[in-house]
């Protein structure tokens, strides 16, 4: 039986330029801390080997400190063996990185720099597919099919790349999704996708242990893999490793709903919020007061979070007469509101103009609401 921890896409050295300055340091530190949390997860799952399926580093030429501090974290527990595969971000073309890494790597770190079988453990052979360049233009795992391993040994593939092309059809640089079956692998550890994905029983993307974007749902995690015997189905268990959560609260609103209540229900528990980056997306339709209420509730909740991004661009306005009455029942203000509403609903107008009119109407409504709140004479 072999236990191992499968991870990828740590992107050490990557910075968070889009984030507020005060948050960037925390996120960077959390990214570095992922190594320690992976070690913890390995120990917790009884794994002696941690496979990094590419993109340990974000750049081909990381700073010496990034490299060295990463190795120091890995060396902290000599009982663990780290196997590092060059991905597309830190491919073999990074001829500054890998020679330096080879020179400085601690004893428990093994670099999978050649597409040749590596003895991982007694009775277990690792077939690595290092990326020779950022865009190799071919399926690097093809050689797995022909790779010879000792009879009775576990065959474990390690690769980095997509199994599905999001570009033109017939792309040649995707990995065969059934490579595990074709090559008789007991497990194929993949990297590149930052979300955790199961391709088949033997083929998994571990996802990144510390997310850095809103693209993928779910917390940062690794996979604890147990291989009982050659040919036996692997036992794969997600192990949460993320420090910060990147969550998207998408609210599809309808007129008549209470946006504040909907938002409150969609938000994570207060205890997690300080280490959560939140994106709030309002979609659907809403009346003017509801839109205002949503924005007010979102603004109110935002300070709970490490970062909050509130978007109501996709929330269509569906004002009713009463909403316009709140602005004014008649007269010039009402005329202005009617004109803006008509413009916001006019399909013949360019989308930016419609959006500007809708926002202007919402703003006018907000002015009226504030006037009312202040008790200003009508």
């Amino acid at each position: 039986m072999l236990r191992l921890l499968h991870s990828s896409d740590l992107h050490l050295g990557k910075r968070y330029g889009r984030m507020p300055e005060a948050l960037r340091g925390r996120l960077t530190e959390a990214r570095h801390g992922a190594l320690e949390r992976l070690a913890d997860a390995a120990r917790a799952s009884g794994a002696a080997h941690i496979l990094i399926a590419g993109d340990l580093f974000d750049a081909e030429t990381p700073a010496p400190a990034t490299l060295r501090q990463g190795f120091q974290a890995m060396a902290a527990d000599p009982a663990l063996t780290w196997v590092i595969l060059p991905g597309n971000h830190d491919s073999l073309a990074a001829d500054e990185l890998w020679p330096r890494a080879a020179a400085e790597a601690p004893a428990n770190v093994r670099l999978a720099l050649s597409p040749r079988p590596m003895d991982l453990a007694p009775g277990a052979v690792l077939l690595p597919a290092p990326c020779p360049s950022r865009r190799p233009g071919r399926d690097l795992t093809e050689w797995f099919d022909r790779a010879e391993t000792p009879p009775g040994a576990l065959r474990i593939g390690l690769a980095h790349g997509a199994v599905q092309s999001f570009g033109e059809e017939g792309a040649v640089d995707v990995l065969a999704p059934d490579r595990a079956r074709r090559a008789g692998l007991d497990y194929l550890a993949l990297g590149d996708w930052h979300g955790q994905v199961r391709i088949d029983a033997r083929t998994w993307y571990s996802g990144t242990p510390e997310p850095d974007r809103f693209l993928h749902r779910g917390p940062g995690a690794a996979l604890a893999v147990t291989l009982d015997a050659p040919g036996a189905p692997p036992a794969v268990a997600p192990m949460e490793t993320g420090d910060f959560g990147w969550e998207t609260a998408e609210l599809a609103l309808l007129p008549g709903e209470d946006p504040a209540a909907r938002l409150a229900a969609a938000l994570p528990a207060p205890a997690r919020r300080r280490r959560t980056l939140l994106r709030i997306l309002a979609t659907g339709r809403a009346r003017l007061p509801e839109r205002a209420a949503f924005l007010a509730a979102a603004d109110h909740a935002a300070p709970d979070f490490a970062y909050a991004e509130i978007r109501a661009d996709a929330l269509a306005l569906e004002p009713e007469a009463a909403d316009l009455d709140a602005i004014d029942r008649a007269g010039a203000l009402r005329d202005a509101a009617e004109a803006l509403l008509a413009e916001a609903r006019d399909p013949a107008r360019p989308a930016p103009d419609r959006a500007a009119a809708a926002t202007a109407l919402a703003r006018l409504h907000a002015y009226a609401a504030e006037d009312a709140d202040e008790g200003a004479p009508a």
Binding site: P64, A336, A337
Partner: protein
């Protein structure tokens, strides 16, 4: 709603009594009374009746209570379309509100129902536009609308205007919008410096620029990595041991080949030298034999040329002698011709001299004749001049004497005229017996008796005629003086009388003329003077001597031109002969020299030793054989010899390959070391990570700028929508007001510049309103805009009142119906002329309105017309 009557009980000054105004009509009603009569109290009470609930204990109600206390009561009759109703209220104590049908006395409503009834009868409520339209005392001023207890005309419509234009909420919304917009962009739409939008754009630009710089640094890093990769590959290739061995072996082989080729080249060089020497010797032998043959040919030719030269010299010498003879003959002929020419010239000269002498002699004779004539004329002139000088009279002597003579004649005539005259007539036979001065007087003769005159009468005796004493004495004296003067003058001249004087003068003149004629004759003969003539004559005398001719001189005149022609011809012939001789002489000398030279050359050739032709032939043959041998030896060496240049080039190339490789290896190692350092330094900076971070920053900043741009677009659109709606509302509301106001303004401004025509623009007038006060903010007349603040107090008052009347009439025409307009001493500042125009305006508006005018200016308002009202006592009923 028309007010027909108003009654007050126990209100303010009317404590414990009542007062009423009855019979209020349609149109204009005037209550004219002095101050302190209670006019305003009446209509404060009316205002309270309409607007203050009977239950109120507010100031408006309390203000009605007189000082003595009690409960104020107000009652009014209002006419509505469905009848006339009496409305009564009492406040503070015994509060009541009652509505009665005035016709039937039926109680219509009381208490709160009465208030509700009244509110219902006032469309819009008691505070609405249909309330009483009040122009308060002194309140008809621009910007001074009374918003106090009374409901002002403008206050009544302000709500409506505000509702239409959005009013203060619109103002606040626009202010908020403008404030938020101004924080982001300038008035021209550009991002405001220091604002969020500009800051976001700046940040985006800065981050983008930084990203560009980092991109360049990343590119530089990658370029350095690529170059190091290439350099390393090249270095590996160069330092490959097999390649290095191959380069060294090639270098050694080519060096050995070069040494062998060099040795063979040395041998070949020696053989070439020997061949060259043999070639030289063979060429020398051939040349020696050729020179000997040429020398023999040269001597034969020299002998032939020497003989020819001698013959030619002899021929030339003969020609030279002949030419000399011809030259001598020609010279002699020329000399003879010259002599003949000289003789001819001498003879011609002599002939000419003779001719000149003859001419001179002729001229001499003429001149001598002229000299003689001149000298004779000169002598006569001198003689005449001397005689004339002798007879010359002093200047004017003749004139003086002639003048005296004329005066004497005049005096004598006068004396004669004065003298006694007598005549003798003889008796027959007595003739001649009377004598005067001894002479007998003829018969019939007589004379004048001047002075005493004695007549001798023969036979008679003497008859003496004695003039009267003094008669003619003066004339006689004058006569005597003149005569004496004349005689003295003549005496001085030595002449006896005037005729002598005249004769002498004539003679002197004739002599002078003769002298002049003679002098002229002398000048004619000798124009240059006698001396010149004499000198000329002397000269001619020399010229006139004929030359002496030689004895052998031919008698005939010579042919000088022929002699000259002959002399010229002979001179030319002599010159030609001389030239021909010179040429012949030169030819003779040259040919003689040539002959001598040829002889000398021939002698020299004859003196040189002659070579042996056979010996020369043998020597040439030997040299040719030696050359053939040397050439064969050289060709033998050349066959199969390596190309030294090629061998050297190969050796050089192989050596340079080794050297270049060595140098390149060193260079590459240095370059790679440099790359290493650069990469290490750049990697330390983490440009890729920094680029990713900066790109993120730029993206975030750009996203923020984009969001702010959306915000700006939304606010701009909101501002535009608000302004458009407000402008449309204003046009909608103020347009009718201006239309209503225009004829009133025309009444008011008919005599002012630009007034009276109505309508806006140049030549008319126009008004712009202040939205807050609803009053004119600016009056434009004749194209000139005048802010309200600079208008006169009267004009401001009048504009304010007319504006209220315009609003009131508009309201009266609207759904709310008419409400009474009450003017409480409204026209305070208007002069007599303007106030009449305002009266006209009031009456114009009163066609649809009930207007109540309260004034203390009784005299000024006498001409207002309308229905006069007066306050009468009234006994309040018990409510």
């Amino acid at each position: 709603m028309i007010l027909r009557a108003l009654r007050l009980g126990n209100v303010r000054r009317f404590a414990n009594r009542g007062v009423a105004i009855e019979g209020i009509g349609d149109g204009v009603n005037v209550l004219s009374a002095p101050n302190e009569e209670g006019k305003s109290t009446c209509f404060d009470a009316l205002n309270a009746l309409v607007f203050v609930p009977y239950t109120s204990s507010a100031a408006a109600a309390k203000s009605l209570r007189p000082h003595s206390g009690g409960n104020p009561l107000v009652e009014a009759e209002f006419e509505f379309p469905d009848g006339t109703f009496r409305v009564a209220k009492r406040w503070l104590g015994a509060k009541r509100a009652l509505i009665h049908d005035a016709g039937s006395g039926r109680l219509v409503a009381q208490g709160d129902d009465a208030e509700a009834w009244l509110s219902a009868r006032l469309p819009g409520g008691p505070r609405g536009p249909a309330g009483l339209l009040w122009v308060a005392q002194g309140g008809a001023e621009l910007g001074a609308a009374d918003r106090g207890a009374r409901e002002d005309a403008l206050a009544a419509v302000a709500g409506e205007v505000e509702a239409l234009t959005g009013g203060r909420r619109m103002v606040r919304a626009l202010a908020r919008c403008n404030e938020e917009l101004a924080a982001l962009v300038t008035a021209t739409g550009r991002p405001r410096t220091g604002g969020d939008y500009a800051s976001a754009l700046d940040a985006a630009r800065q981050h983008e620029q930084a990203a560009e710089a980092l991109t360049a640094r990343v590119a530089a890093l990658r370029d350095t990595l690529a170059r190091r990769r290439a350099d390393r590959a090249r270095l590996a290739a160069l330092t490959d041991p097999e390649a290095m061995t191959r380069r060294e072996a090639e270098r050694a082989a080519t060096a050995a080949a070069l040494a062998a080729a060099a040795a063979r080249a040395d041998q070949l060089e020696a053989a070439r030298a020997r061949e060259g020497l043999a070639e030289t010797q063979a060429r020398a032998a051939a040349e020696t034999r050729a020179r000997a043959a040429q020398a023999a040919r040269d001597r034969a030719e020299a002998a032939r040329l020497a003989a020819a030269a001698r013959a030619e010299a002899e021929t030339a010498a003969a020609a030279e002698a002949a030419a000399d003879t011809a030259r001598a003959a020609a010279t002699e002929a020329a000399r003879a011709a010259e002599a003949a020419l000289a003789s001819a010239r001498a003879q011609a000269a002599r002939a000419e001299a003779r001719a000149r002498a003859e001419a001179a002699a002729a001229r001499l004779a003429e001149l001598e004749t002229r000299l003689a004539a001149a000298e004779a004329a000169r002598t006569r002139a001198e003689t005449a001049q001397a005689e004339a000088r002798a007879l010359a009279l002093p200047d004017k002597a003749l004139d003086t004497v002639e003048d005296l003579e004329r005066r004497l004649s005049t005096l004598e005539a006068a004396e004669a005229a004065q003298a006694m005259r007598f005549r003798i007539d003889y008796a027959p036979g007595a003739a001649g017996r009377v004598r005067r001065d001894g002479a007998a007087l003829e018969d019939g003769g007589g004379g004048a008796a001047l002075g005493e005159t004695r007549l001798e009468i023969d036979g008679i005796g003497r008859l003496t005629l004695i003039p009267a004493p003094g008669a003619g004495a003066e004339t006689a004296a004058a006569l005597a003086r003149v005569r004496e003067t004349r005689d003295a003058a003549l005496t001085r001249l030595g002449l006896p009388d005037l005729p002598a004087l005249r004769a002498r003068a004539a003679q002197a003149a004739a002599l002078a003329q003769a002298a002049q004629v003679a002098a002229a004759e002398a000048r004619a003969s000798a124009p240059d003077g006698l001396d010149a003539l004499r000198a000329r004559i002397a000269a001619l005398k020399a010229e006139a001597r004929p030359p002496e001719a030689p004895q052998d001189a031919p008698a005939e005149a010579p042919d000088l031109p022929a002699a000259e022609t002959r002399a010229a011809e002979t001179r030319a012939a002599a010159a030609a002969a001389s030239a021909a001789h010179a040429a012949a002489r030169e030819t003779a000398i040259r040919t003689a020299a040539d002959a001598s030279h040829a002889e000398t050359g021939l002698a020299r050739l004859d003196a040189a030793p002659a070579a042996d032709p056979q010996a020369l032939q043998d020597a040439e043959t030997r040299a040719a054989e030696a050359l053939a041998a040397a050439r064969a030896a050289r060709e033998a060496l050349e066959d199969g010899a390596a190309d030294l240049d090629a061998a050297r080039a190969a050796a050089d190339r192989a050596a340079s390959v080794v050297a270049a490789a060595t140098e390149e290896i060193a260079t590459l190692r240095a370059a790679i070391a440099g790359h290493d350092a650069a990469i290490a330094a750049r990697a330390e900076e983490e440009p890729e990570a920094a680029l990713a971070e900066t790109a993120g920053l730029a993206e975030a900043a750009r996203a923020r700028a984009d969001r702010l741009a959306v915000e700006v677009a939304a606010l701009t659109r909101l501002k535009s929508a608000l302004e458009t709606a407000r402008a449309a509302a204003r046009d909608h509301y103020f347009g009718p007001v201006i239309a209503e106001l225009r004829p009133l303004l025309a009444l008011l401004l008919e005599d002012t510049p630009g007034g009276g025509a109505g309508g806006g623009g140049a030549g008319g007038f126009d008004l712009r309103f202040d939205e807050a006060s609803l009053l004119p903010a600016e009056l434009e007349r004749g194209g000139v805009a005048e802010p309200a603040a600079i208008l006169s107090g009267g004009m401001r008052e009048q504009l304010a009142l007319l504006t209220r009347l315009a609003f009131a009439r508009l309201l009266a025409r609207g759904a709310q119906g008419a409400a009474p307009v009450i003017l409480d001493d409204a026209l305070v500042w208007s002069d007599d002329d303007r106030i009449e125009r305002m009266f006209n305006a009031l009456h114009r508006q009163a066609r649809d309105l009930q207007i109540l005018v309260l004034t203390c200016r009784q005299r000024a308002f006498e001409r207002l017309g309308g229905r006069p009202l007066r306050m009468v006592d009234w006994t309040p009923p018990e409510l």
